[in-house]
């Protein structure tokens, strides 16, 4: 009987020790980063069964906001943390680390039935600011342009506005979507639609356009190769922000993402590896 009690006690202590080794953390933020971070975390958890990572989207602003309020330990973002957000982090006594883990080629997508396959930056500005309303104005068929965009909390929204629209206003008729997946679905189902997404989201239901940032001299397709050789003009880094207080917990995962294997997954998902 005594032996049984000892064995039970040893098992409880041993079990608790195993339980104690289990680590978990949350990652929240950019929808652009979501597919690649999900894939990375799945693979990482397979190799490290004692680690539990919960990944959710919502937009870069949402993720960074959650990092400030303490509802997530790691934020993923398709834009750099703003100075106002840094001030809030400082006020909340939260030290953080910024890491770039991949690059993205921001892609303009249309419905596959659309004959247009390339546009200049100026033409894109015309479409998204509401000056150009019909595809026939751009050499296409007589069809109203239906413009899809992301919500203002999205890093992709901010990047597109800054780099493609030269900070001009989106037209009030632009339809704001809560997630990148919704843009893909809407563009895929609407003949006259146009939207913008991260490279990894491109699939058969949409057509990615070649773009020109030199007023039509050269048009470049959004591909990993073109982003890597920097010929594609709308590329941007993707960021991970994490609290320094959980550095030890997060570091193995980050090392995995930045490893050759992790960067291979970046490529597999459709983004541009760092090397």
């Amino acid at each position: 009987m005594k032996k049984l009690v000892y064995i039970t006690l040893v098992m409880i202590v041993f079990g608790s020790a195993i339980q104690a080794q289990k680590t978990s953390f949350k990652i929240k933020g950019s929808d652009t980063c979501l597919p690649v971070i999900l894939k990375e975390s799945e693979e990482f958890m397979k190799k490290n069964p004692n680690t539990s990572i919960m990944v959710t989207g919502g937009g870069s602003g949402v993720g960074l906001g959650a990092l400030i309020t303490g509802t997530t330990e790691v934020a993923m973002a398709s834009r750099k943390m703003k100075l106002d957000e840094k001030l809030k982090m400082q006020d909340a006594a939260k030290a953080f680390t910024e890491k770039i883990f991949a690059n993205d080629a921001l892609s303009v997508v249309v419905n596959p039935s659309n004959k247009i396959d390339r546009l200049t930056r100026e033409q894109l500005e015309g479409i998204f600011t509401g000056k150009t309303k019909n595809w026939k104005e751009l050499g296409g068929v007589d069809l109203t342009i239906v413009v899809y965009s992301r919500e203002t909390s999205s890093g992709t929204y901010e990047f597109f506005k800054e780099h493609v629209l030269n900070n001009k206003n989106f037209a009030s008729s632009v339809l704001s979507m809560p997630a990148t997946g919704a843009i893909i679905q809407s563009v895929g189902q609407t003949k006259g639609a146009i939207g913008y997404v991260g490279l990894a989201y491109i699939e058969k239901s949409v057509k990615a356009l070649k773009v020109s940032f030199d007023k039509g001299k050269t048009y470049v397709e959004p591909t990993v190769e073109n982003a890597k050789n920097k010929s594609y003009p709308i590329t941007r880094p993707l960021y991970i922000y994490y609290l320094k207080s959980i550095e030890k917990t997060v570091n193995p995962f980050l090392s995995y993402i930045l490893s050759a294997e992790g960067q291979k997954l970046v490529l597999e998902v459709g983004y541009v590896p760092l090397k």
């Binding site: 303490g70 703003k82 100075l83 840094k86 001030l87 400082q90 909340a92 006594a93 030290a95």
Partner: protein
């Protein structure tokens, strides 16, 4: 025969068994179906109810902070009469704020200050944003005056224990009763970095209206980041015009008669307006670098401020004695440096307030109508902040207060009124 009866009995029992089994299965499956569907429905209903309740609760935001502090003066500057002392414990602020927002377009805000000194109302206002243009916001009630930067900058975030002397003197309570129209393009606009505030105010701070005169306040400011979120610049220009009724026909202003500078009486119509006119410019810069976030803020104000013979403080009630008109000017500069990304930051602050720019030194004396209300102050502040966690911080701050040497009793030399403040703040 017996055997065939037994077989029949067995077959009958088998049929009964099969029938019972079937019935049991049906009953069990029905039961299990009930067990599966009812809880699911219940959970779904409960979840819906919780989501609905949570939605209502999320409309109400409750925030607040407490600042408990010990202040050490280099003389017995606290208390009054024979009962003066040089160390003072105080609950400087005990704020609780309720903000209810049912739609993105409207908001109701109440803020109170609860300390050992009593219960005070700070903010009570309603806010409505035009949902079509999203660029026009109307605020009505008691709210912060949109003048300069320091007034609206929360005491919970400010690095020095108190606002600058000119702010607390010219704009007591920071708040005013009235209505304000804010014009700012929505976030999606490239013009979102510019904001214009236009307000009509009672002119009595948070006290009830006492005359027919309404004051005007206007402010335009900008806020923009540069160099890929490395540098943020903001600034603005403010203008206040108004004043309260003269309670007597006698007014005083600074002049010179037979080589003597001082306050001189002039006639003004009874109940006419004692004009209050203050202009201001402000500038803020924040830079992110390897040594941490560095912030520089500055503000300069000038204008004319009616008061009494013994006070240059902005009005908080109707004047009851002859009005003394003064030309005023004030300035402050803060430099705040966070040490890397650590919990430590330091601040250096310098502020100047001259409540009577037309008189200086020994020209300020009782015989020409002056008082302590005319004495210029320069204050150098040095502070250290330690953030203990998300909610708690400790502030250690030293104020070196320097008054000008005048002919007014008690101000013929620099007074011993330097202060050391030790503050613990909890914010939620």
């Amino acid at each position: 025969m017996k055997e065939s009866n037994q077989i029949k009995l067995l077959l009958f029992m088998k049929k009964i068994f099969i029938a019972l089994s079937f019935l049991t299965c049906v009953l069990l499956s029905t039961n299990s179906f009930a067990q599966e569907t009812q809880p699911v429905d219940t959970v779904a209903n409960a979840l819906e109810r919780i989501q609905s309740d949570l939605g209502i609760l999320k409309r109400l935001k409750i925030t607040g902070y407490i600042q408990a502090q010990a202040v050490l003066s280099d003389s017995s500057s606290f208390g009054s009469g024979v009962n003066t002392y040089d160390k003072n414990f105080q609950l400087r602020r005990g704020r609780i704020k309720f903000a209810y927002q049912a739609t993105p377009w409207s908001q109701y805000v109440m803020q109170f200050d609860v300390t050992e000194g009593g219960f005070k109302t700070k903010d009570i206002y309603a806010k409505f944003t035009d949902p079509y243009t999203k660029a026009l916001t109307l605020t009505a009630g008691v709210f912060n005056r949109a003048f300069g930067y320091e007034i609206e900058y929360s005491s919970s975030n400010r690095e020095s224990p108190e606002r600058s002397r000119f702010t607390t003197t010219l704009f007591p309570n920071e708040r005013e009763l009235g209505a304000m129209l804010t014009i700012q393009a929505p976030k999606t606009s490239r013009w979102n970095f510019i904001k214009l505030d236009l307000a009509l105010l009672s002119g009595n701070s948070i006290a009830p209206e006492t005359d027919k005169f309404k004051d005007f306040l206007g402010r335009i400011n900008f806020n923009k980041s540069f160099m890929d979120e490395v540098l943020k610049l903001s600034g603005g220009a403010s203008y206040y015009w108004g004043g309260n009724a003269n309670p007597t026909a006698a007014n005083y202003a600074v002049g010179e008669w037979a080589g003597v500078k001082g306050f001189y009486k002039y006639d003004e119509a009874l109940s006419s307006r004692a004009i209050r006119e203050i202009s201001g410019i402000d500038f803020q810069a924040t830079l992110a670098s390897n040594i941490g976030l560095s912030t520089l803020r500055g503000e300069y104000v000038w204008g004319r401020e009616p008061g009494t013979s013994t006070s240059s403080t902005g009005p908080t009630a109707a004047y009851t004695t002859d009005v003394y008109n003064r030309q005023v000017s004030g300035f402050y500069a803060y430099f705040v440096q966070n040490i890397g990304q650590s919990r430590h930051s330091i601040v250096v602050k310098y502020d100047i307030f001259d409540p009577n720019t037309k008189l200086a030194g020994t020209d300020i004396n009782a015989t020409n109508g002056c008082s302590a209300a005319d004495v210029k102050y320069n204050t150098l502040g040095l502070g250290y902040t330690l953030r203990l966690d998300d909610n708690t911080k400790i502030v250690v701050y030293y104020d070196k207060v320097m008054n000008e040497t005048t002919g007014v009793k008690g101000y013929t030399q620099d007074r011993k009124d330097n202060l050391l403040t030790l503050r613990l703040q909890y914010k939620f």
